[in-house]
């Protein structure tokens, strides 16, 4: 895993960094879900929007499915060009 946790610490502070450690299983599982859906820049998404990944995988999966359905079949391209859309899930 190639997440730059120092970025999370800089942007969100220690509390969120600890939450990432505390919810590490969820974080890993949610990353796997995005990998399976073909998202390539997952580690960058984690660094910029770590709070998204602290949900349990069941909730995360359902949120992501609805979100991608709403974006349409070219969701990968849309999200790489507009990462701010991830914020809609928060």
């Amino acid at each position: 895993m190639d997440i730059d946790f120092s970025k999370i610490n800089d942007i969100y502070g220690k509390d969120i960094l600890y939450s990432c450690g505390e919810n590490f299983d969820d974080l890993v599982e949610n990353i796997t879900i995005l990998k399976k859906l073909g998202i390539e820049n997952i580690y960058e998404v984690v660094e910029r929007y770590p709070l998204l990944f602290l949900d349990d995988s069941k909730d995360f999966s359902s949120k992501i499915n609805n979100f991608f359905l709403h974006l349409g079949t070219n969701y990968k391209e849309i999200l790489e060009n507009n990462m701010t859309l991830w914020e809609e899930l928060l």
């Binding site: 970025k7 610490n9 800089d10 942007i11 969100y12 502070g13 220690k14 509390d15 969120i16 939450s19 919810n23 590490f24 299983d25 969820d26 599982e29 390539e40 820049n41 960058e44 910029r48 929007y49 709070l51 602290l54 349990d56 995988s57 069941k58 909730d59 999200l79 790489e80 060009n81 507009n82 990462m83 701010t84 859309l85 914020e87 928060l90």
Partner: protein, 571 residues
């Protein structure tokens, strides 16, 4: 038995005979040697642990062997290390108690209160009959392992009720007069009664409290694990090496504490409090092993005895696994069992599973399967009986099922629900269970006082950090920036990015377009410089330029494209 033979025999097995001098050994020397050979050489029991249960030196070797084999068979060998005295028990009686506790209490209780195996079933049943209305399951078993009869136990329980002392397993270490005396001392000294105080006599507790109060020291529960003179000595030894009191240092004798500090100095290794979980010899061996294997040393490496740590490390190397801090909650065989169980049931292996024993993992899995609940990592944060209580609590409160509630105790769940009902007349939002009740209430009060919308994300942070960000924004830029997606960022980050955006006259855009704050200051500056180079504005319409929304890869492609374009123009 000839004392000279005894000394020779104990010396051969590295047992300190001096510490056993008060014990009369009546066993035949051959039988005794067979016990030592079997337990130390064959079963790898540490001589130090063996010396703590000297009663087994007077038992027949056949009884010890039968009991040990049985406990190995039922996977309780590891739990035995601190209660080897159970090996004295009549084999049939031990088995009878084992099956009774397993059936009526569950395997986790056998692992936690292994001493119960030396208690006859009749005594457990008698205590159940007398106190099942007053005592929890754990307290019933703890009362059963105590030295007190029913009459004394009744007095202890009544004293606790009268003195408003929460009944926990440690209360059964003291008689009712001592408990009353402890309560009076705490009342007089204006100190809250701590469960570890029951490890010491009332006189000793009073001496420790006096020492702390005379020296203006906070009273830690850990102090009561040692005698008053040892507490004073350890405090004096450690005061120069740490600003905070090192609670775990009180697990060791003063001379062991000194030795561990000396080892760290010799090995030029920073001292971590977890080191005091181990003997100085183990601390040294663990440091050396990590140096040899080139593993960065962390406090969690001292979680397990040296031998277990070495075994786990070997297991990870054999199976090509990364050693994680959670694995060090368990023994090698337990890690292996948990992994096999997950493979067999086609379950993902969660780090939180290592917080539980294999039987607890299985118990939680079976409970969830039976009740049609999804398996999530949070379920393994709590013991099986706590998990089931949490599920019942949620059902009673009509809380929708969510995995985050397993981060809290049933009482905390009730308290958080009451807080939400008090402030909003609704059930809590799921993320509120990320924090303890006091923290939840602090966040709510803070947001309500500033008219900030309360969203789930805020409960991933603690109130003081949120307050730091709010105070910074309010003082320097005004209330209009107090939005959840802004105040969730670290104050130091805001203190770098806000002045930058302000100097460019685009700060107001952040209110509706806060995503720019997910980039670091350097990344923002870099993209601003690029926009300047290509003559594009930072703001387009009412939002930041879409360049700030590009992924790093797409941003670099865009820069490269621009570089190529400029290169072509130059040519």
């Amino acid at each position: 038995m000839n004392e000279y033979d005894l000394v020779k025999l104990f010396l051969k097995y590295h047992i300190d005979y001096e510490s056993l001098k008060e014990i009369t050994i009546t066993n035949d020397i051959n039988n005794l040697e067979e016990i030592l050979r079997y337990l130390i050489n064959e079963k790898k029991i540490s001589p130090k642990n063996l010396a703590k249960s000297p009663s087994i030196f007077n038992t027949k070797s056949i009884t010890i062997k039968d009991n040990f084999s049985f406990l190995e068979e039922v996977n309780l060998k590891k739990a035995l290390s601190n209660c080897l005295h159970v090996l004295n028990t009549n084999n049939d009686k031990l088995k009878e108690t084992y099956y009774y506790v397993l059936e009526n209490y569950g395997p986790s209780y056998l692992e936690k209160i292994t001493s119960i195996l030396s208690v006859p079933v009749e005594r457990i049943k008698l205590i159940e009959l007398s106190f099942s209305d007053t005592l929890s399951k754990e307290n019933i078993l703890s009362a059963a392992t105590s030295k007190f009869d029913i009459f004394d136990l009744t007095k202890i329980i009544n004293t606790c009720i009268n003195e408003k002392i929460k009944i926990l397993p440690t209360v059964f270490l003291r008689n009712s007069d001592e408990i009353k005396a402890l309560s009076t001392i705490c009342h007089q000294k204006k100190v809250s009664l701590n469960t570890t105080m029951f490890h010491r006599s009332p006189d000793e507790v009073e001496q420790i409290i006096n020492f702390c109060q005379e020296n203006s020291l906070a009273i830690l529960g850990a102090y009561f694990l040692r005698k008053p003179d040892e507490v004073e000595e350890i405090i004096n030894i450690t005061k120069n090496i740490s600003d905070k009191p090192l609670s775990l240092a009180f697990n060791r004798t003063p001379s062991e504490v000194k030795d561990i500090i000396k080892i760290c100095q010799e090995e030029q290794t920073p001292l971590t409090s977890n080191m005091f979980l181990r003997t100085p010899d183990e601390v040294k061996k663990i440091i050396k092993l990590c140096q040899k294997e080139n593993i960065p040393l962390t406090g969690s490496h001292f979680q397990q005895p040296y031998q277990d740590f070495e075994d786990i490390l070997g297991y990870c190397q054999e199976n090509n696994l990364n050693l994680t801090a959670s694995m060090l909650f368990r023994k090698k065989d337990e890690i292996s069992s948990i992994r096999s169980f997950c493979n067999e049931k086609n379950l993902p292996i969660y780090e939180t599973m290592y917080k539980r024993t294999p039987s607890e993992v299985e118990e939680i899995f079976n409970y969830c399967s039976k009740n049609n609940l999804s398996i999530t990592p949070n379920l393994f944060r709590k013991k099986p009986h706590e998990t089931t209580t949490i599920i019942t609590t949620c059902k009673n409160l009509k809380l929708p099922p969510s995995s985050v509630v397993f981060k809290r105790t049933p009482d905390e769940i009730i308290d958080i629900t009451s807080i939400f009902l008090k402030y909003f007349k609704t059930l809590p939002i799921k993320n509120a269970f990320n924090q303890k009740p006091k923290e939840v209430e602090d966040i709510i009060k803070l947001c309500l006082s500033k008219n900030i919308a309360i969203t789930g994300t805020l409960f991933q942070k603690k109130a003081p950090s949120i307050k730091d960000s709010i105070d910074y924004l309010e003082k320097n830029y005004g209330e209009k920036y107090l939005k959840p997606l802004i105040i969730i960022k670290d104050k130091n980050h805001l203190a770098k990015v806000f002045p930058l955006l302000d100097s460019l006259g685009v700060l107001d855009i952040v209110i509706n377009s806060p995503s720019i704050l997910t980039l670091t200051e350097e990344e923002i500056k870099d993209r601003i410089a690029f926009l300047d180079r290509i003559n594009e504005n930072i703001v387009v319409g009412e939002t930041f330029n879409s360049l700030f929304g590009l992924s790093r890869k797409n941003y670099l492609l865009r820069v490269e494209k621009e570089n190529n374009k400029e290169g072509a123009l130059t040519l």
